[in-house]
């Protein structure tokens, strides 16, 4: 199996879809000559030309909305929002339009739109360039929400998302673009709504997304040294959510930690904790522990930033807290 980076995996999925299918095209700020502010679309202008690799003005609302319209007219547009923080400018189109046209029309329309965006702290971008806002979108019926953590997943899920007939908000993590991983020689689409067990374990399930999958895997390896067996479950898509996979893992381990980079309060972990206690109440030997950013905007100074966002140690500490607790309290 070839090894590629997360960045290349994103590019591959789009390029392959564009090669196969004239209806697929991409739009976004600085995605053409520059190849995207994260370098994701490098070379795509050269391969597909400016009509299908459309550099846009700084107009997040309109480009998402143009994606909605093109999708309703039968295309499969992919819109890039350079930083997740700027989805705040496109919420109207994402939430009131993309998510609802099918419903409001009583099923007459479909909106096969993919909106890619990225974010993630750890490099001192400050308060307006690294927020993790995926939780908002999970609250919106009509949208699908994907957040992959490995090259293989990002490629398979993005490819699948492009061909999904619904609007998908696709989150990439800035600090993962450089990581490498093996992928199948041919793109294998991954169905939305299927979690992935990265590592099996007996004592506790860590449900993690994005960068925190990697922190969780490191924490799991560390915990193993202390004789704690950790299962790491990455839902990969937050909406639809693989509830069965998630809940059955917790029913096996009887303990659950949920970890993401987003702020804990009202973050995706709240939904996981609520679901797990609803559906596995009798199995839980300890409360679901939540790991995530502290309740603060992202500060600039590296020492403060490191304090705000979660790391391996935080996952490990949560694992130990939950395992240290007596069963059936």
């Amino acid at each position: 199996m070839p090894e590629i980076t997360y960045r290349e995996a994103v590019r591959d999925a789009m390029s392959e879809a564009m090669r196969r299918d004239g209806d697929v095209f991409i739009m976004g700020e600085d995605i053409a000559e520059m190849g995207g502010s994260m370098g994701v679309t490098q070379g795509m202008l050269q391969e597909f030309g400016p009509e299908r690799v459309r550099n846009t003005p700084i107009s997040e609302m309109a480009i998402v909305g143009a994606g909605v319209g093109a999708a309703m007219a039968g295309m499969r547009p992919i819109v890039e929002i350079m930083y997740q923080d700027f989805t705040t400018l496109a919420m109207e189109q994402l939430v009131n339009q993309a998510a609802k046209h099918r419903y409001m029309s009583g099923g007459q329309l479909k909106v096969p739109l993919t909106v890619r965006t990225q974010g993630g702290a750890g490099w001192s971008p400050g308060a307006q360039h690294a927020q993790q806002l995926e939780a908002w979108f999970v609250h919106v019926p009509g949208l699908k929400v994907v957040f992959p953590s490995t090259p293989e997943d990002v490629r398979g899920l993005l490819f699948r998302s492009i061909y999904d007939d619904n609007p998908v908000v696709f989150f990439e993590h800035r600090t993962l673009y450089g990581i490498k991983g093996e992928v199948p020689a041919e793109i294998e689409p991954i169905e939305l709504g299927q979690g992935r067990i990265h590592r099996e374990g007996e004592d506790v399930t860590v449900v993690a997304t994005g960068r925190l999958v990697h922190e969780a895997l490191a924490a799991a390896a560390d915990a193993e040294k202390d004789g704690i067996s950790v299962e790491v479950f990455d839902p990969r898509t937050l909406l639809p959510l693989d509830e069965e996979g998630l809940v059955s893992s917790v029913k096996k381990t009887n303990r659950c930690v949920v970890a993401h980079e987003a702020i804990v309060r009202m973050g995706f972990g709240a939904e996981v904790a609520a679901l797990v206690q609803e559906r596995a109440f009798d199995y839980l030997d300890a409360p679901v522990e939540r790991v995530g950013a502290r309740f603060s905007p992202l500060p600039f100074a590296p020492v403060m930033e490191a304090y705000v966002i979660p790391h391996e140690e935080d996952v490990l500490a949560a694992i130990k807290r939950t395992v240290g607790r007596n069963g059936n309290g």
Partner: protein
Amino acid sequence: MATAEKTSKGLSPDTLKEFLREMLLIRRFEEKVEERFRAGELPGFLHVAIGQEAVAVGVCRALEDDDIIASTHRAHGHTLAKGTHPNALMAELYGKVEGCSRGYGGSMHLYDVENGNMGANAVVGGGLPAIVGAALAYKLRGEPRVALAFFGDGATNIGTFHEALNLAQLWKVPAVFVCENNHYAESTPAHQQLPIEDLTKRAEAFGMTAMTVDGQDVEVVYRTALEATSHAREGRGPVFLLAETFRLTGHYIGDPQVYRPKEEIRELRRTQDPLDRLRATLDVPDDEWDAMEREIAELVDGSVEFAKNGTDPEPQDALKNIYAE
């Protein structure tokens, strides 16, 4: 709707009578909606287009069958003019399965995709970017279709409008932006929301071709709209079409219009009723008019009948149509 008259200079009296009939249908339909709303039969809240019929009819008549429109909260007129049967529209207002949005949308969310209505939008400006995107799709695929958005004067204040027009012009997509300047945004008159008088300046900010028409003169609206759509269709770029018009009723049904002098409305009803103006031009004899009225009354009453006899959705149908398979 493509007919020979489109290219002719002067419209034949017969064609204009068809226009008159469509305008009368909208008028009587809206009046019936007001009546049924006041009778407590219609859920939600409703905005009628009384006074603005000539814009809806003139513009939609200039469209080809597979051109598309996006409308606003004030959508009944556009929807009828774009070809939706009054039955399907009325059924929607009653929340029935037979409604043009199957009961999921309601007055502010009218869709009729087969007839090229891609949706009315209850968010001011909300439908404009999608029109740019649809027009882009036509351009990319080389289809000679036009995507057209209706919106009000108030909508020219929202960022969405500016972003959408900019993108449309930059990419020279076949889109037409029809601004119905009825001089109010809800209760807000021009001087409280618009620091300029001539709204075409807002299109010039993007270098977009702009045209202004008397929106109460359906023939002029039709001709200018035809010019605008041809311009767009031929790849010469999008057009901003400004129609000066008047809202002869409240913003919504039941609006006491405390913000508006009573004489203003009276005077406008006297001088700016697009139906009166067309009828006078055409010099329609009373018996012909009465016949038209009777036919339309039947149609409209029939739509109420149809709607009332329609099927209520099952409660749990609410969970359908959220996602496409």
